[in-house]
Symmetry: C2
Subunit: 119 residues, 2 copies
């Protein structure tokens, strides 16, 4: 893809970076579960099991998704000194930076649904 097909006038190099950035975003919040988990955690910290029940997601997938979110700095994992142990997951302040984008996606999806499906 060259610069002539880019969002705004730019060099080829800048254009390539722009689309890599978009791809990054989709990697971080795309897929079936990431946004759902973020949504749920907006309501406050939850333990692994609670999160699993709330989202109706199997432990294997939940574990993987939470790792991804943690790697990307969106969620913190805290092991509690209980017996048996329990682990709390919580959104980071950094996750707030997603808000504007999430709102954009929500707004677009809403108007799209009105336009195309039964209103």
């Amino acid at each position: 893809m060259n610069k002539d097909r880019c969002l705004k006038p730019a060099t080829d190099e800048e254009c390539k970076k722009a689309w890599l950035a978009l791809q990054d975003t989709l990697d971080v919040i795309g897929g079936k579960w990431k946004l759902v988990l973020i949504a749920i955690l907006r309501g406050g910290k939850l333990k692994f099991r609670e999160l699993s029940r709330e989202a109706e997601i199997s432990p294997r997938i939940l574990s993987k998704e939470l790792k991804d979110l943690e790697i990307n700095g969106l969620v913190t994992r805290t092991v509690l000194n209980t017996r048996p142990i329990s682990v709390e997951y919580e959104l980071t302040p950094y996750s707030q930076t997603l808000s504007e984008m999430i709102v954009s996606m929500h707004e677009w999806g809403k108007q799209h649904r009105q336009r195309f499906k039964e209103q």
Copy 2:
């Protein structure tokens, strides 16, 4: 998911709709190719083969992706009276409504990359 875990204060019903809308958005522009194709077509209409070469995507996938985009009103398909026939694909005016969201996603991805990867 109930309203207490929603983006803004709302009824359970509103909350459910909000997350359906987000899911809609991901369905429409998520995945590996949708945004790439939209990006490329921003530069102007292209024929099937040109698009295939530009995006480096196999015909089978391209065909499917274009159908999806057409169904969602983002792309028009025009058969030309040539021999052999050729088909042009072009973004619709409606596709412009994606701009704000795409910019949001781009901005977030850019700052995320700066924050986490080699700058």
